[in-house]
Every structure is written in structure tokens, then in C-alpha cells.
């Protein structure tokens, strides 16, 4: 007989800073200090009950590899708008049930209802629902064009390559996060954009964004976008600059209204050309 043990759990109370998230479309509020008690929204629907089950199952069956919030660890980061392998609901359910051959992702003998509740929960991860924000997106687009954003960011195929592409930034980042990124860019530097300073043995210090690194070599892109490759033994110094960003703060350079407008523009960038 299967042994039954169900532990009372309240879920992670404090989300990592990169995903302290605002309201999702299910009215679920999560963030520091808000426990699962805060889960029970006034509108308790069958859907949210499924979601609670999906979340609980996700944490016990998936979270040891994918992290309690699905944003990675040993397993893939599921907290992103598009999952490379799970291109639709059916594919997502199939993967949960059967695993992915040739990878560490195992299948699991879950019931169809368990699979669908996990799938529903996974689909909420890393997705920021459309928000009503103050500001005007049309004016915001003009603010964007009038600033030097495109020097580092790509939008609609145009722009620089030093910073993250912005085509779907509105799906990946909340309005609050975007506002913070504009005013304090170094508060959260996205993964994959580590700034480094290196000093080659023959002189000429260089600051750039790390493209790749292994035990013996490092590749970085300087702020003009030029790629540099070094064997580490050609370098006198490799200095990772955690929490540093080439992006300067727009605090004091934009009016409150301009900031609102720019955020209102950015949240509409959802990678579907609907901006």
C-alpha cells in the first residue's frame, strides 16, 4: 500500500529579487513576507484550486531541479515566456508525462489531472500578465527613440547588442521591475550580462560584457560591441564586476511623466509584434 504523508507547507515566503512578482492574472499575490495564506483570493475558483495543486505538485516533483519558482538550477529555466521544447499545451503535457529523451528530464507516472495542473502552473511561470500602468505608450515610444537606448538594446531588429534585447521585455519583466531597471540599473543585472574588466599582459585594460568563459579562456564584448578573445594566461587581471552595468541611471534625467511613459511603452513589448 502506498504510504501517505502530506506535509503542511506554506511555500516559499520570500521570492528571489529577480522575480518578486506583482499580480498575475489569477489574482495571486506573491512576494516577500506574503505566505500561502495570501493565496486565497476573494475569487476562489476551480481554476485557482487546480493552480494550487499544480504549484504543490510542481514544488514536490519538479522543484528539486527546476527550483521552487521554476527559474532554474539543475534543470532548465521554465520561468520564461516561451519554452523551447514545450511549444504548446500538448507538448508541455507530454514532456511532464514522458520526460525528454537524451536529457535528465524524467517522465513521471502522474495522473492526467495532475499533469494538467502542473502544466497550467508551469505556464504561469515567468510570464507577466498585461498590466494597467500610468503613462502613455505612444509618448513612451518617443522617449525611447529620443534617448540613447538603442545604442545598447535591440528592438525590432535594430539597435546595439551590448544589452538584452527588448522585443519581449514586457512579458519577461513587470512594470515595477522595468522602472527599477531604469532608475537603478545596477540593482539587478540580468544573468548572462556580467561586466568584466581585464588587463592583458601587454597593456590596454578593457571593460566589457562576458560572452563566454572556461577554465582557460574568456571571451568578452567591449562597449562598442567588438568581440575579444583571450587565453587567461595572456591576462594579468580578470575582475568580475558583479552588480555593475554599462547602463547609466535615468534617475534625474527623465521626468516622472517621461518615466511613466517609457515604462508604459516597454510593458507593451510582448514579442508578438503587437506593440
Amino acid at each position: 500500500m502506498p504510504f501517505q504523508l502530506t506535509l503542511r507547507r506554506d511555500g516559499p515566503k520570500c521570492l528571489p529579487p529577480e522575480r518578486a512578482r506583482p499580480k498575475t492574472r489569477w489574482g495571486v499575490v506573491a512576494g516577500c513576507v506574503i505566505s500561502i495564506a495570501g493565496w486565497a483570493s476573494p475569487l476562489v475558483t476551480a481554476q485557482s484550486a487546480d493552480m494550487a495543486q499544480g504549484r504543490r505538485l510542481f514544488e514536490s516533483q519538479c522543484g528539486s531541479c527546476h527550483g521552487p519558482l521554476g527559474n532554474g538550477g539543475k534543470g532548465a529555466n521554465l520561468a520564461q515566456p516561451r519554452l523551447r521544447r514545450a511549444t504548446d499545451d500538448q507538448a508541455l503535457s507530454n514532456i511532464i508525462r514522458r520526460g525528454i529523451r537524451g536529457t535528465e528530464m524524467p517522465g513521471s507516472p502522474l495522473t492526467p489531472s495532475q499533469v494538467s495542473s502542473i502544466a497550467a502552473y508551469v505556464k504561469t511561470l515567468g510570464r507577466v500578465a498585461p498590466e494597467d500602468v500610468p503613462g502613455d505608450r505612444v509618448r513612451g515610444e518617443a522617449v525611447y527613440a529620443g534617448l540613447d537606448c538603442a545604442r545598447c538594446h535591440t528592438l525590432g531588429g535594430r539597435g546595439g547588442i551590448i544589452g538584452p534585447g527588448l522585443d519581449d521585455i514586457g512579458v519577461r519583466r513587470s512594470a515595477a521591475h522595468l522602472r527599477e531597471a531604469l532608475l537603478s540599473p545596477e540593482a539587478f543585472v540580468p544573468s548572462g550580462f556580467l561586466q568584466l574588466r581585464v588587463v592583458p599582459r601587454d597593456g590596454g585594460a578593457l571593460t566589457g560584457i562576458r560572452v563566454n568563459e572556461d577554465a582557460f579562456s574568456i571571451q568578452l564584448r567591449d562597449l562598442s560591441g567588438r568581440l575579444h578573445s583571450f587565453w587567461k594566461n595572456e591576462l594579468d587581471l580578470i575582475e568580475p564586476q558583479w552588480r555593475r552595468s554599462p547602463m547609466t541611471s535615468y534617475e534625474g534625467r527623465l521626468t516622472a511623466e517621461q518615466t511613466d511613459d517609457l515604462v508604459a511603452f516597454l510593458v507593451t513589448l510582448r514579442g508578438d509584434g503587437s506593440q
Binding site: L5, D10, K13, L57, H66, G67, K74, T103, P109, F216
Partner: protein, 539 residues
Amino acid sequence: MKTTTPTRRLRLAMVAGLTALSVPALGVAQVPYERILDAASEPGNWLTYSGTYGAQRYSTLDQIDRGNVGRLQPAWIYQARSLQKFEVSPLVVDGVMYITEAPSDATALDLRTGRPIWSYRRSLPQGIVTCCGQVNRGVALLDDQVFIGTVDAHLVALDARTGRVRWDVEVADYELGYSVTVAPLALKDKIIVGISGGEYGIRGFLDAYDPITGERLWRFWTVPGPGEPGHDTWSGDSWERGGAPTWVTGAYDPELDLLYWGTGNPGPDFIGDVRQGDNLYSESLIALDPDTGELRWHFQFLPHDIHDYDSTQVPVLLDAELDGDPRKLVVFPNRNGFYYVLDRVTGEFLVGKPFAKQTWALGLDEHGRPIENPETIPNIDGAVVYPDDDGAANWFSPTYSPQTNLIYQNVREKGGVYYLADATYEPGKIYMGASRRVVAGEDPKGFLRALNPLTGDLVWEIAVHAPPWAGLMSTAGGLVFSGTMEGDFFAADAQTGDVLWRFQTGGAVYANPITYLSEGRQFVAIAAGNSLVTFALPE
């Protein structure tokens, strides 16, 4: 899977008939136990998982040395079909290399050319569950047979000449989460095989099988049943799902006639309340009589583990003077971050010292029992602990060089944040009890470290990039070989830690290196990505 076990008499008759009729052809493995026992005397071959039963993973070959290793170059590459992690530790005998490919295939390669001689491709049922990939770490050889464990928890004997199945027996029920990923160990007239599944509520064991018939000769339950010593270290009926798997190949001391094997985590991995007590023989080194499977002694590194620190590493046997007395030792760089030295005659604890960043223990007492740090117990708010459950070490092998008298270990320094989650036992489902995230803002580190084997003191280290999953090998050429997650395979001066040679293989190294002779030339082999790459000096 149908189980076929010809009677012992029939099989013996078949073997006798073959022997009488056929002259051993070139490339036919004839590996009696005595050859494995004396493997150190034929370093041109690599006859057992760790090179020798003492598991030092040290080779006396010295053609490739500190002076010329810089000229090492690829000789041939064999590409596995699977894109799963390639964790094989190859065996080499008489001109043939025997490897496994994920999930549960075996291939014999011509040592001269790298071309396959045969492949055993196993058809697997749907519904196999493995925590960490459908992988395999290698075969065992005995007489004219090759032995492979499978992820559907069978043990299969293959004809070494053809890869054809001689017998195929079920070790355990894969639908309950049991699987075999370990390389079996051929020992005397037995094939020793361990089990995986510690994340699925299995009850662990170590088995011995008759190489001729496939009959199971003994089973040592690593979680004792009612009436057995140690059973009272499990509350209630928790022993039924107690875990303690045995998924990394052990070592053997022929003089003491003791088989040493590490055991894994108790289940559920992260919730101790439901299995109160020390949870013997999880997280232990067990010493068994290989003829009977009876326990001679055990040392439990980590009573009542709640961090999933399987003590499933390769025990390394070495003899040394300790405080003026000659001692037979077994040393064990544990996944929990402590380096242990035990007396391998008695299991007595002698030394325990951290070799990596760890926060789960405040220290060890005089008997080696850890004083646990309560702040690292998984809880609903998230507890940070070092190392994470991938460990400071893991299944990948250490090496001991008698030439330098140093022990080498690849080291992972990476923490995790553990949140309690449900642990409801249902057959074949994850039974762990926590979810994990990375430590925000952390930059995990990896090292190759050389330690004093008697104290665990750091002698030198090489910083690599990501925390590694590669095993090590040392040679009489004064070298130690290792690999990285970014695909580098490299050789360092075993005395100083200077990197003397490196090669970018293009795929992460999740494997142990070996070395051997082919037509008188020394080669080094490593699996990286889905490639098995061999290296030699230019002719």
C-alpha cells in the same frame, strides 16, 4: 523484459565446449579474476572500473610525462548515439575498449582505429524514472563476458566477442523507481551490482550474481528489515522507503577479503521527521564479506541526513604510516564536503576535515559524527546550505598517486536554498520533500584540489570555471588528468598543479579518464559531450 537464466550446468557445458573447440582469437577478452586481481602488473590494460581493486585510479604508465604531455593530440573519436550525459569509464583489454552509452547500451571498440566491433542496443520500456539522467558508468569484464546494468534495473551478461546476450536478469522493479547506472564489479566468481533510486522511496541493497547463470547469490539490504541489526534506527515503517542506494562502484582488499561500498541518502531526501533515528546504513561506508554479503563493519558518515548527500563516492585504499604505525586505510572525499580517513580493517574513524566550503556541519566529534548546523535544515522559508545536494564531490572518481603521495579530488563549491515540499510516497514518483533554488547572486566555483592523504590538508588547487563533474586519473608520468564542464580536458603536473596541456573537446566532461597501451603506445581516453576521445603523442 523476459528474464533468461540458463541453468548453471548448461552454461558451464557451453563454456567448456567453446573452450575446447576454439582457439582464442585476437581481441577476445579472456579476463579471469586473477588478471583483475593483478591488474597493476599490466598497466597497458584497464581491467576494472577504478583501474585496480584498490581504486586509486593511478597508472604506472609513463610514456606520456611532464616533459612531453604538451604534444598530446587526439587519435580517434567515437561518437555515442545518445545525447544524454556520457558518464562512462571505459575498460580496455587485449586490443578492445568496452564502453557503455546512455541509456543502457554497450559497445566494443577496436583499440587501433576506434571503429565499433559490436553494440548491444537495449530496448527499454516506457515509464523508467531516474532522478538524474538515464545514464551508465561502464561495464565489468570477467572471463569471456561483459556485464552491464540497465536503467530498467536489469543485469545483463554479454558475449565479449559479439555483444550477444548470454543472460538477462531483473535486479529490481523499475516501476518502483529502481534503476542501475553503476558499473558492476567483477569479484572472484561474482558480479557485484548496486542500485539507484534514492529519490523514489526505494529500499537500497547491494547484490552479487553468478556470472555463469545470472542467479542472485546474495543481497545485502542497506536498510535493515525487521529483526536485523540497525532496523531500530528507522521510526515506524519508514525503512520500507529508506533509500540508501549503492550507485557508485566500490573497492576491494584481497588480503582482508573485504568489499567496500558507499551508500546513498535516506528517503525522503530532505524530510527527517518521518524517519527518525540514524537511518542505518544510509550515508555509510560498508565493508562486506564478498562471499556471503555479510556486514563486517560500517562507518556512517552522516546519521540521519536531510541534505541528500549520498556517500556514494569511490573509496580509495592506501597503506601508510599514521602516528608511526603502519595502517591499512580507506580514504573518502565525501560529497558532504569532508575528507575522511578510516582504518579499513576495523572502520575506525581517524581523520575528518573539510576539503570544500560546507555549512551543514559545525564540525565532527571525536568519533567522526557530525555536529549538524540547525540553520541549514530545509524549511518553508528556505534554508541556505553548502554544498548543495550535487555535493562538494559526487560519483566522479578521485585519484591517489603513490608517486606524489597526494590524493586529488575535483571539488564543487556551490550552495542551494531548500524549501520544504510535499513528500507523499507513491510508487515511481519523486519522494524527496524539498524544492531547491540557486543562491541568488552566487558565482559557483570549481577546483581540482590536491590534498595530503593523511590529513586532508590542501597542497595545491587549480581553479576551473563551473563546478566540475569530471573524474581524475594520475600517472607515473607525474601527471593528473581532469576535465571541465566547458569541455576542456587537461593534464596538470601532479606535484605542482601547473597545467601542462589542455584540449577543448566541445562537450562537458561527465566522466573518468583512463590510460592504456595500444600497440605499445600510451593513450589517454575521456568521454566528453557525446564523444569518446582518445589522445596520444605524435608517432
